[in-house]
């Protein structure tokens, strides 16, 4: 597989959210606005790239049977790093994302890529894979966040375009997340088939 | 408050157009074709050959098993061939085809009209006689009657129920029989009581036949142990299980026979045939057939020889109307649509119903709107919408679990469905598949 397609597959063809249906919790929980979605996506992408990098570096030093715990420790470390960095430098975003930052640990995408890709491939393609998947994830969260923000708050990236009015609040609330994601997946499904 | 069965049921328009028409003897046909399988169970085996001459009432095919029935010639004449002919099921079946010559009856048959009340035969002899005479359930099920009379070991019949319900719309053959042959069928009932060794018989009649109820109630005073029970009108009260439930309040257990609750059910037509067989030595070769339909000129009740082509009956009732869409053997709820009117009348033909083109097709089928009407009308407490769906999905395991085999195919669900869904069609399909699965499991 060449590096370019390895990189781009995460956006549409193997998009972790829209196609592989992974990492649903943060996808739904943090996408009340475009910026939150993007923030969460990038945080996850960072963890993904770093853990892929490290795991592909040390993969031969780790016995098979303790593979998973070792991976989890590595991933959890990077999650904590992201958690601390965000708390220190982007406190507003940190507060918005809240619980979902530590929960990156259990995001199936991260462990999934570590297990399926980084533990079998070289460093460079692992990083590319992590980057592609991570950005694909961020892209999905951005789309979903933007959709919910436009419909729910009548704004995009915080810029309000319907004056003082509220949008359809449904979309910023929990049910709106399920609904918007459902229709986006349906649209992507029909686009992929067409 | 009149009795009826407790669960489900529908009230299709009754349309008993021929109720006031007395039974007429239909003219002899030129030719009859008598299928060797007119009953449930193994086909009879022919004992005549081509060119044999036969008399009315002569045995022409012999019962070939425990569940099987003798077949007698309904006419006198010459056997011209034994061939496959399309019968009411739409399939080709072996039939004995006889060219009619005169009307020469078998000598032993007592053709006098006198009522003979005394029963000379013993229980075993009656059962034997019924078997020899080829009597089957004339309500339409055509189950060989002698089998029903032979109570399995360890069980005991407590009550005989005579089915005079005639819950199918349009049909009036039983109704007319009760009015015109009341005494005969009551004697027939006593014969059946003797055969079963029971001292109680109840004739169940729906309340839409007050004249029959009145007539038989009057007559039963002379017959010990027989009484008439007027029932609330509700389809499918003529179903064996429903009738037992209505009259005795007992429910035949799922998968069981009526005898499990001590009941045996026979149709009024059967009771009459038993009278004729036992008292008059006359085997079953003719029956009452209603020819009816909204477009029929002269809705009638005919006494018809078995094997007569349906076309003859229609002709006698005023001919086939122009706009005919469907010809049905039996009633509108459970009868079979005929592919051709050359089909012969058989022991199970209770009526010929002609339906105009406009009413002969189901409307457009829509998705189930889950109105639950099929569930509420199912007399067996099943969920037809679900049985259809799981059959459609080929989930036969679930279909069996949901008791699809209990379905009596009364058609109430398909009748009531506002979405015109072919519920019963799918359930039948499911029953076939589930039946096969059950059989392979046993093996």
């Amino acid at each position: 597989m060449n590096n370019w397609s390895n990189f781009t597959k995460g956006f549409i063809k193997e998009n972790p959210v829209f196609v592989l249906l992974l990492g649903m919790c943060p996808t739904l929980g943090t996408t009340t606005s475009a910026i939150n979605g993007l923030g969460m996506g990038l945080a996850t992408a960072f963890v993904l790239v770093m853990s892929n990098l490290v795991i592909s570096l040390v993969k031969n030093l780790i016995p098979d049977k303790v593979r998973i715990p070792a991976f989890i420790v590595i991933i959890a470390s990077f999650v904590t790093v992201v958690d601390l960095l965000l708390a220190g430098f982007l406190p507003a975003l940190h507060e918005q994302l809240g619980l979902f930052i530590p929960l990156i640990v259990v995001n199936c995408i991260v462990l999934g890529r570590a297990e399926a890709f980084a533990s079998k491939n070289n460093v460079f393609s692992s990083v590319i894979d992590g980057l592609g998947m991570g950005l694909g994830f961020a892209f999905a969260l951005l789309i979903l966040g933007a959709t919910r923000e436009i419909l729910g708050s009548g704004a995009i990236f915080g810029y309000k375009f319907i004056g003082d009015n509220d949008g359809m609040l449904f979309f910023v609330l929990a049910p709106g997340a399920f609904l918007a994601l459902g229709y986006i997946i349906a649209i992507i499904n029909s686009l992929r088939k067409a | 408050m009149l009795k009826t069965f407790s669960k489900g049921g529908v009230h299709p328009p009754e349309n008993k157009l021929s109720a006031i028409q007395t039974i007429e003897q239909l003219a002899l046909p030129k030719m009859v074709s008598i299928p060797i399988s007119q009953h449930i169970g193994a086909p009879a085996s022919p004992i005549v050959k081509k060119n044999d001459t036969v008399k009315v009432g002569q045995l022409i095919a012999k019962s070939s098993g425990f569940v099987s029935a003798n077949i007698h010639s309904s006419v006198s004449g010459k056997v011209i061939k034994i061939d496959s002919v399309v019968d009411s099921s739409g399939y080709k079946k072996q039939s004995i085809i006889i060219d009619v010559e005169g009307d020469e009856w078998f000598e032993e048959i007592d053709r006098t009209p006198e009522l003979k009340k005394e029963i000379d035969l013993s229980s075993e002899e009656i059962i034997k006689k019924v078997g020899e005479s080829g009597i089957v359930g004339l309500g339409g099920a055509t189950f060989p009657s002698q089998v029903k009379l032979s109570v399995p070991r360890g069980m005991k019949a407590e009550i005989l129920i005579i089915n005079g319900v005639e819950c199918e719309p349009y049909l009036t053959s039983d109704h007319r029989l009760m009015l015109e042959k009341g005494d005969e069928l009551l004697v027939g009932t006593q014969i059946l009581m003797k055969a079963l060794n029971v001292d109680k018989a109840i004739i169940g009649i729906e309340n839409n036949k007050p004249d029959a109820i009145e007539h038989l109630t009057k007559l039963t005073k002379q017959y010990q142990g027989i009484s008439v029970e007027a029932l609330k009108v509700k389809y499918p009260q003529g179903g064996e299980k429903q009738l037992i439930k209505a009259i005795t309040g007992r429910e035949v257990p799922s998968g069981g026979l009526p005898i499990a609750v001590g009941a045996v059910v026979h149709n009024v037509g059967t009771a009459f045939a038993v009278y004729e067989a036992v008292q008059k030595n006359k085997p079953l070769f003719e029956r009452v057939v209603t020819v009816t339909g909204k477009s029929v000129k002269r809705p009638s009740n005919f006494m018809v020889r078995i094997g007569t082509p349906v076309a003859d009956l229609i002709e006698a009732a005023g001919g086939l109307p122009e706009d005919t869409g469907k010809v049905i053997s039996g009633g509108p709820m459970m009868g079979r649509a005929l592919s051709t009117i050359d089909t012969p009348v058989t022991k199970g033909t209770s009526g010929i119903l002609i339906i105009p083109e406009g009413e002969s097709r189901r409307g457009k089928i829509y998705d189930c709107i889950r109105c639950a009407k099929c569930v509420s009308v199912c007399p067996m407490g099943l969920e037809p919408y679900l049985l259809m769906k799981v059959t459609e999905m080929q989930n036969y395991e679930r279909a069996e679990h949901e008791r699809t085999m209990d379905c009596i195919e009364c058609g109430s669900c398909s009748y009531i469905c506002p979405s015109n869904r072919p519920l019963l069609d799918y359930i039948r399909l499911g029953k076939v598949e589930v039946g096969r699965i059950i059989r392979t499991r046993k093996v």
């Binding site: 040390v58 993969k59 031969n60 030093l61 780790i62 016995p63 098979d64 049977k65 303790v66 715990p69 070792a70 420790v73 590595i74 959890a76 470390s77 904590t80 790093v81 601390l84 960095l85 708390a87 220190g88 430098f89 406190p91 509220d166 609040l169 910023v172 609330l173 | -």
Partner: protein, 202 residues
Amino acid sequence: MAKKLESTFANMVIVLTAVSLVAAVSLALVYNITKEPIAKAKLKKKLDAIANVAPAFDNNPNAEMFKLPAFEASPGLDSLEVYPAKKNGEIVGYAVKTYTMKGFSGLIELMVGFKLDGTINNYSVLAHAETPGLGTKMTTWFKNEKKPKRCINGKNPKNVNLTVSKDGGDIDAITAATISSRAFLDAVNRAYKTLEQGGKYE
């Protein structure tokens, strides 16, 4: 390519311990680097909230915070945090972290700033769980200076009845959210009365 390490017991223990150690050490490192920014960010947030509501100050109100017994306190919440705002060493006003339990979904927390005469300077909503689109409007509703019937900024509870007009007060409730509005004003009044009890007005 190097061969994979065998899954012997010793290997497994060693590797897992090593991985955990490396992780712990590097995390400790990162923690130490980010410790200060995190603390700063937290403080800044609080100061921002105070600065937002209190009259302009040049001290560190957080350092001079003191508690006063709350007016009509709810159980478990019997004192309010008061942050004095000082300019050139002189007290110019207070920011009070106040609350109410009467919100649609219980607790609402506000930071309300008062001038020395008891006039409300500004407020900000710290925490609430009100209905989106209704109660949530309190974050801006009561500070819209174009609508004097709603705005509480610049009003002094001493001479203005800080209850909703429906209850005979002077403030217009949020449309279709009277309960949240009542709760909001209850919290503001609690802050005012608490300072008054503490004898903080001139």
